[in-house]
Subunit: 248 residues, 2 copies
Amino acid sequence: METSDNATPSTEATPAPTGIAAQDWATASADPNYRAAVVDLLGALAYGELAAFERLAEDAKLAPTLADKAELAKMASAEFHHFEQLRDRLAAIGAEPTEAMDPFVAALDGFHKQTAPSDWLEGLVKAYVGDSIASDFYREVAARLDSDTRSLVLAVLDDTGHASFAVEKVRAAIEADPRVGGRLALWARRLMGEALSQSQRVVADRDALSTMLVGGVADGFDLAEVGKMFSRITEAHTKRMAALGLAA
Amino acid sequence: METSDNATPSTEATPAPTGIAAQDWATASADPNYRAAVVDLLGALAYGELAAFERLAEDAKLAPTLADKAELAKMASAEFHHFEQLRDRLAAIGAEPTEAMDPFVAALDGFHKQTAPSDWLEGLVKAYVGDSIASDFYREVAARLDSDTRSLVLAVLDDTGHASFAVEKVRAAIEADPRVGGRLALWARRLMGEALSQSQRVVADRDALSTMLVGGVADGFDLAEVGKMFSRITEAHTKRMAALGLAA
């Protein structure tokens, strides 16, 4: 996972830490619903990192040069170290990492299966779009988490360097052949559609996580707020696509 | 790359450091032939690690459980960090890492293409057999290298934990179904055959490396010695296969 380097959602709507956001894990986890929601969140994030590792390692095979291959392998390795941090944290709070990840395997594998890139550029766009959206989402959620979980989530969202690498390579390819832009714009739209459909599946399945997202457990989240969050994420996506030279 | 945990070649024939083995890089590299041979060796090893990263990441997809998947991803990541050390060393001695690796891409890719595992167990046996043979070979060569290069080569051959993991899983599978042993024994023989044929290709192509191996540059290596080295490696392979429950 990584930051989007030139278009992040506005954080104006994020309130100063109050309620759970002002608490540490020891205090916040006394609420079993909050605890279950955090285990879900870390499980989803952990499997996301493991799947990202696999995807980047797979993309490395499509790399046109040895230097590009090494660059992708480096990012894959960074994702794996994020996975380790999340798995260790799950174990530290007494959750079985594999059990915590299991509920998210089908949705993430489904997403990757439906969106297997057919070439190097599609792989770069997918990694960039997918990681940016996931990163925006987790940043929004992080603001509502207890301080300990928030620090961890923000740490594993640290830029692995993929964003600027992908932007540079994709822009160069579009400059060299503008028709590539049309194909990749369609591809990015398909990725966004698949990501939304798999997210809905996860939200529908996971009660604790959904309850946290629409309020009731963590602070400041109600349905209207979730709607605004999705608007901010979609808007940031559109800006990123424009920066890439693609119409979203 | 990793150590073989229960069968290493005898080191009786290894002489105490003399000649180049008693020198550091600054002294030894004054000989341009020796320098070229080391660049070849580090290039081959670096691309071997990058290819091992890809292979392990690929095998992770075949893992029967999430825990097995995470274990393979961890090993892949360790191979990548070995690659980084070798690439950085090549750069530090003024060699272009990509150029140093290029001559070995075809042979290593050829090996991996000819020996794509069809399931999880074949992948484990391949990683174990391939890494053990490579590790035995580099350890033999390391004893003849200057002290700085030797330290690096031995460091990247550090056990990534794959050997004991593979041995445990393969033995359990053979105990559960002895017919698996016959299939895997054939597979291991095919791997050894492919590895030898690709090594011959590399040795035939790379003058500096071959000259170092058969004496003339580094100490203690002549054709008879190379023959003995291959015997030791083959013998260690046979012992490892027996430990795994396979007839070599």
